[in-house]
Amino acid sequence: MKQRRFIFTVSLLLFIITSSCPQTNSPEDPSIRGIFTASTPCSQGTRPLPGIPAGVDCELIKWNLVLYQDKSTKAPTTYTLHCSYGMAKQGTRGFIGGGKKIAMEGPWTIMKGTASNSHSVIYQLKDNKTDKAISFLRIGNDLLHLLDSDLRLMTGTAAWSYTLNRLRNE
């Protein structure tokens, strides 16, 4: 009896572990619409993500955005967004002090057309925690560009832009 209980418990634990192991995100996974990365500016006036405190120094944000879709219908489902932010470390691509992390997740949707351009395709991401949203203009199949509150393109700096680039398998 004890042995059966032991075998059952171990089997159950193994099942839970294997079921909950996160899938490695691959751009070729049919449930993934795309993985987009970028290094964008950050300043007192332009903190496009919720959760970056007003008093923290920030000049650079590194983005990793995964957009998921329904495998059959290709309809948007959810996203995950992992960012690092802080002050850029001169001579490197990293941050002073390693930077700070921030994460968002939630549903995303596609909107077609804006007041200024009826052909625009806009991706809107909603954060489950804060109920806030950020929007991107889709540019072709491989680029997303961050928008401001009036759905205009965010203007970057001499060093960094607000364009996210699709990650491809090399």
Partner: protein, 188 residues
Amino acid sequence: MKSSLIAFATVLCSLHGKPLTAQTAAADNKISVSGTYRPIPTGPSLFGVFQGRPPCQGIAGQLQLPTDIPCEMLKWSLILYREPLQLQPTTYSLSIVGGGDIVKQEGGSYRQKLLEGKWAIIRGMGSDPDAEVYRLETGRPGKYLYLWKGDENVLFILDEDKTPRVGNEDFSYTLNRVVLKQGQGKLK
């Protein structure tokens, strides 16, 4: 019962209402200031100055720029001029640091290329026949540099087939309008 209905309605509205936006307010979406040691172009014929750091890959080959190995990005500074009355495009000047000829300076050297010529506005890019594209002559017959106008302040570098180039996690093929101010520093 009434308070329950009110609570339910409140929850329902909060679930289906428009989400609070986290986007940067339009008022804060501003043109940035960039320092330069060169004379700052001014006057009614100046259309704008655009800067960015596109990856080396692809564009260096298209423009036939020799680069060091490795080459991760190029520093671009593009000045566009136009006729002041009818606002037609005239000439441009594109400074590219990181590719081109070797320039020696005290303490080291760097690569730089200066492209100059005429530019024009054409229509059409991929599936968008109305897209406004800037076509810059490169000095090689039949060879152009194409830039898609995202808006007045943002340009996207295209390839020779007028397809947007795709950057990486560090650098994008995007140029941003800047305001120049006299700065100090190395000759670049």
